[in-house]
């Protein structure tokens, strides 16, 4: 077991790679009541073309299957795993993103039993035709709920504008039609391809005894005869640099319009340190340009183009990435034009000052400290970083190294009009 100390933060992280390939991390947190654990596979909605375990040819699976599998893993022959967790005083949950499926629980008692339940239920699938059919009704309602959610439609509409081929454009839950095609055999096929321990990470954070916890995890894993697995073959079609669609306007039953402007990142294959530096520099750039203390924000707010729902964000994974900014607005077209002009000005270095950068860095450092108060944040983000070969605890040292030149270069490389796109939601006439 390896120990990594972060002196300034007063935190220690323990790591071990088990014989079956599973990466295990433990971060002890004194003073907290709860222990939080996540068991995550590097498998999300984008992994829809791959070579199934034990086969030779690529196959394509229905949209929404990773999310469907997440739901179904909770159901066992003798009942529902949620029940078992709550009997043990824990609260359990799961989520599926573009690139990950995570199973998690938090508890303030019976920690080892809950950890065992987590490892066992994720590693012992049970799917039947009957329960698969029943789930279609439930997920169908989840999809319909999102259909009525204007913010979700706006967010996804923007991603669909950006990508022509990449499966990030597929809605994570799929559609009523696509999930209708899912069978129990397909679930097993996806499961055995992507839920091998060598494709997974277990993170535990809370008031735990590190040695005992690691020993407990190892014993649990050693009991399960899991054979080695060769590397997973995934396939993604080529994606052009330019966006698929410049603008989309969705009419919905709303009273206030919404507008998001997006920038598609260049087809990036970054990972590790380079990826971390790249995403932090883009985040600093966005803070400088559109943070609440920026001139742009002030201008947009006083002209009444934005309100408190205004936000910006940069998402980056291997193979895709995008920034988006916007929110509710009375004048979606004018907001779109103004944001695009502000972005184009920034590409030339306008408004990017040393003073602004110092402030933006301080703000990010404070935000990082705030985030590490949260066990959920640490476990989820650490996992995301690790799957991209980055380390969450490198955030502050990397931020400190970013120079004004770096930010200016990022601005001119990243901001390009051909990769702009817009999505609006407007009231139905």
């Amino acid at each position: 077991m390896k120990k990594i100390a972060f002196d300034q933060l007063q935190e220690e992280l323990y790591y071990e790679k088990l014989n079956n390939g599973l990466d295990v991390y433990i971060l002890p947190k004194k003073g907290f009541n709860k222990t939080f654990a996540t068991f995550t596979t590097k498998y999300g909605s984008i992994d829809n073309q791959f070579v199934p375990k034990g086969e030779a040819e690529f196959t394509k699976v229905p949209d929404g299957i990773a999310h469907f599998l997440e739901h179904k893993l909770f159901e066992k022959e003798d009942g529902d795993v949620f029940q078992q967790f709550s009997k043990q005083g824990a609260s359990a949950n799961a989520f599926t993103s573009f690139t990950r499926t995570a199973y998690l629980f938090s508890s303030t008692s019976n920690f080892e039993r809950n950890l065992e339940t987590l490892m066992d239920f994720v590693q012992e699938p049970y799917f039947s035709e009957k329960t698969v059919e029943k789930e279609k009704g439930i997920i169908g309602q989840e999809i319909t709920m999102y259909d009525d959610n204007a913010d979700w439609r706006l967010y996804f509409g923007l991603i669909q504008n950006m990508y022509k081929n990449h499966p990030v454009k597929i809605d994570i839950a799929g559609t009523i039609d696509s999930i209708a095609k899912i069978t129990k055999d397909m679930l097993y096929q996806c499961y055995y391809t992507f839920y091998h321990p060598s494709n997974m990470l277990l993170f535990v954070v809370g008031p735990v005894d590190v040695e005992n916890t690691m020993k407990f995890i190892k014993e649990n894993q050693d009991k399960k005869a899991i054979e080695q697995q060769p590397e997973i073959k995934r396939e993604f079609e080529d994606e052009p640099n330019e966006v698929a669609e410049k603008k989309k306007v969705l009419e919905m039953n709303v009273q206030t319009s919404k507008c998001l402007v997006g920038i598609k990142a260049l087809n990036q294959q970054l990972n590790g340190e380079e990826m971390l530096k790249n995403e932090l520099a883009i985040n600093l750039l966005l803070d400088l340009l559109f943070g609440k203390s920026s001139d742009n924000y002030q201008k947009l707010y006083s002209e009444g183009l934005i309100d408190e729902t205004f936000s910006y964000d940069f998402t980056s994974e291997q193979g895709f990435g995008f920034a988006m900014l916007g929110g509710d607005t009375g004048e979606p077209n004018r907001l779109e034009e103004t944001l695009e002009k502000m972005l184009k000005d920034a590409a030339t270095g306008s408004g990017i000052t040393e003073e602004g950068l110092v402030k933006a860095k301080k703000k990010r450092i404070g935000a990082f400290l705030r985030s590490v108060n949260s066990p959920e944040y640490i476990a989820n983000q650490f996992t995301r970083y690790a799957f991209n070969e980055m380390n969450l605890f490198d955030v502050v040292p990397t931020l400190e190294k970013i120079t004004l030149e770096d930010v200016k270069k990022i601005a001119s490389d990243f901001i390009s009009e051909e990769r702009f796109t817009v999505c609006q939601v407007v009231p139905k006439k």
């Binding site: 709860k34 005083g89 001139d295 450092i365």
Partner: protein, 427 residues
């Protein structure tokens, strides 16, 4: 050792609540101002904190104010409004890095408390009133905030249920105020309201973190001094006679129906059977092992979510679920059956123990966050009682099946609200 230790000090015109803990990398300051919910003041109170947080005398523009906070290691400031029972409460929350985790030794907590005093007590004044430009800008944003509820169908249906259920009672007022009242607000009447609120509201200051208690008391004593007052106390709860269940259906161009059912529990925080009610809610609909989740979602496959939630001070419980338009009768039927089962004591000891375990877990988890600590402790301020979290946890463990059946039989269905698709009712 108690799970949570709060020290409370009477200061000039307010109470200072301190919770010392080493578990965070930041310190949290929350300022609360509470007064009865009234139709005259509701919109003024909804607007005031937004005006105060947008600028001050020392930081006359939002850019300057926010630049100062960014430079203070991204200190966060946000304001919000809450309705607890028939009170409307403004909160100003500040979270600031603890400098012991930084290489820069600037005393950040003191700076953050000074900043709170600046925005609260030293507003941006023009001709003895708030600066008109700021007020007008924030009025516009307030209108958008009120309007935006319509666009979120889950929030909208919840708000409509409350409106229908409480009719003329103050509780029907929305926490962000009334659209039709926004235009009549001026920088003058808002400033008068501000002065009155500082004079009459019940004021509470919370400081959570790894702090020196004496030092915080000394800084607070220097920065905040108000006239003594006797806060207005109102009874949150009145027994209402329900003759028939009020059923409301509304049509909109949507894809999923939203079913919201309101019940009067006739029990509030501070009552001896409050803990039994909390466990009732847990067995009935609070969790993924609860009757609603199991029967509406898992067995009947009707919904993605089906849950119940309590309002502890007004004595109400609300059930919510998103369903197909044509499943209305079936869903309402299942929900009623589950309530009947509860009233008859048709639940197992296992369900009872399971629920106690998860509520215990939930409360302990809540106090792992500084905001959670404040929310738990503030229940006592709202109800003018003094229940420690240890007592809460202890009393909950003692609740029996008979207690739950007794509390279940006090619960009455009041209103069913269904937001459905266009033309569905005619079919």
């Amino acid at each position: 050792m108690p799970v949570l230790t709060e020290s409370v000090k009477e200061m000039k015109g307010y109470k200072l609540h301190l919770v010392k803990t080493e578990k965070y990398k930041t310190n949290t300051i929350v300022w609360k101002m509470k007064a009865p919910l009234t139709k005259e003041d509701v919109t003024l109170r909804a607007l005031l904190p937004h005006v105060l947080q947008s600028s001050s005398s020392k930081y006359p523009t939002t850019t300057e104010l926010r630049s100062y906070l960014d430079g203070l290691y991204g200190t966060t400031l946000y304001v919000d409004l809450a309705k607890k029972g028939e009170y409307q409460i403004m909160s100003f929350s500040i979270e600031v890095a603890n400098e012991k985790f930084l290489s820069d030794p600037t005393p950040l907590l003191e700076k953050a408390m000074e900043f709170l005093a600046e925005i609260l007590l030293n507003p941006n004044i023009q001709n003895n009133n708030f600066q008109t430009e700021t007020v007008e800008k924030e009025k516009k944003t307030l209108k958008q905030r009120i309007q935006s509820v319509f666009d979120d169908k889950m929030r909208y249906s919840n708000l409509r249920l409350v409106e229908e259920m409480f009719g003329m009672e103050p509780y029907s007022l929305h926490v962000n105020g009334k659209m039709e009242d926004v235009d009549s607000i001026t920088s003058e009447n808002l400033y008068q309201f501000y002065q009155r609120a500082l004079k009459e509201d019940e004021l509470d200051l919370y400081v959570i973190g790894d702090v020196d208690e004496n030092k915080v008391e000394q800084i607070a004593g220097k920065l905040f001094q108000f006239e003594q007052r006797t806060p207005k106390v109102i009874s949150n709860y009145e027994k209402k006679n329900i003759q028939t269940v009020h059923v409301v259906k509304e049509e909109q161009d949507i894809k999923q129906g939203k079913l919201n059912i309101g019940y009067r529990t006739n029990v509030v925080y501070g009552d001896s059977d409050y803990f039994a009610l909390q466990i009732f809610n847990g067995i009935f609909g609070g969790f993924s092992h609860s009757k609603l989740f199991i029967n509406v979602r898992e067995k009947a496959s009707l919904a993605y979510y089906a849950a119940s939630r309590m309002e502890s001070h007004k004595g109400i419980m609300m059930v919510m679920s998103g369903i197909d338009f044509n499943h209305y009768d079936q869903a309402v039927g299942i929900i009623k059956e589950q309530m009947e089962a509860m009233k008859k004591g048709d639940f197992t000891d296992e369900e009872l123990e399971q629920t106690k375990a998860v509520i215990d877990n939930q409360l302990l988890e809540t106090i792992d966050t500084s905001r959670g600590i404040v929310e738990v402790l503030y229940h006592n301020v709202v109800s003018h009682v003094n229940i420690s979290l240890d007592q809460w946890l202890g009393d909950m463990k003692k609740v029996t099946k008979e207690d739950i059946v007794a509390v279940a039989n006090k619960i009455e269905m009041d209103t069913i609200y269904f937001l459905t698709g266009m033309g569905v009712e005619q079919k």
